[in-house]
Amino acid sequence: MSIGSTIQKAVVIAALGAAAGYAHWALRGPINLAPDKSVTTTIELDDPMAADPVPVGVNDSEPGETAATPATTTPATETPPPAAPRTLTLGFEITLEQAKLLHDRSVTFLDARHAAEYEAGHIQNAFQLAADELPTDRGQQIVGMLPMGQPIVIYCGGGDCDASHNLANRLQQLGFTGTHIFVDGYPAWAGAGLPVEVGPGMF
């Protein structure tokens, strides 16, 4: 058998595989790899349930500290608080300060990294769920507990990591409309000294 005919046949096999792949694609349709980035969530900044009032990240004082200031020292010229609650609309990708706001409001956090990285350290109360674990029994169990239509914050290792976007994309396909990406992820959260936990999660 000549080398030329071997190469020709190898090309034919590759073409057959490509044709089969094309037919499969035509039957099953495209693979969605990019999450919908038009997601927004509006939160009330004056939420009395929130542990830390705004401005976040600017004032490191204890939550109760501002309230301890005697009201009598307030000059009469100071503007009264607005009647309507102040709100903040968050885009699909959120910053560290915005992630903290949502964490203070007990929003669900999902760690899209794999178990070993999660166990080495994760945001307090976050569930671990990597995108490729979604089809598993454990993945389905966690998905079943997620709040449909409510904000969910997803993060991974920050920087280049795709894991949080992949998970957001898959959750959107399942109908979860409130997925947000905390872009800077765990390194930024831990670096800012915000609450973290070590070890396996509850699920």
């Binding site: 057959l16 693979i31 795709d162």
Partner: protein, 151 residues
């Protein structure tokens, strides 16, 4: 001897490639995400590659087991492995942490992020491909002429 070596290598390599292809087709979303994580292909090529590659693996693996177009299948599989290995090396050099998804959800024989294990595994598989290329289909192959019983 050559025939026995050939059929052992063909069953081993062909079987693994069919398995790899089927497992990838089983979870195309994960495979497409793995291709994306390698950051080698432009966005619009990822989905066609995710659909095409598993089928090429299955067809080439099947032909290898049957012993039809044996050397061509072995050549294609060896070239694919060389390409995959180059991709893995480039991922390691660029410091990207990602899973290989080579065998879908089955992390065998390497688990975790891509690293030296996957390179060694692919080198062993490429060696099997080169052996088949050298030895040829052997007697136990569909393309080999049947010997009529001398009676």
């Amino acid at each position: 001897m050559g025939s026995v070596l050939s059929i052992i290598m063909r069953l081993f390599l062909g079987g693994l490639f069919i398995l790899a292809g089927v497992l990838k087709l089983n979870d195309l979303q994960t495979f497409a995400e793995a291709i994306k994580a390698f950051k080698l292909l432009p966005e619009h090529v990822i989905a066609p590659a995710a659909y095409g590659l598993p089928w090429i693996e299955i067809i080439a693996g099947g032909l290898l087991i049957l012993g039809l177009w044996t050397r061509a299948s072995a050549l294609l599989i060896t070239l694919l492995l060389a390409g995959f290995t180059a991709g893995i090396v480039s991922v390691i050099l660029r410091g990207i942490d990602t899973k290989c998804s080579c065998f879908g959800e089955l992390e065998w024989p390497c688990s975790g992020d891509v690293g030296r294990c996957q390179i060694i595994r692919n080198s062993v598989l490429m060696l099997a491909g080169v052996i088949i290329l050298a030895v040829g289909p052997g007697r136990f192959a569909a393309e080999s002429p049947r010997r009529l019983p001398v009676d």
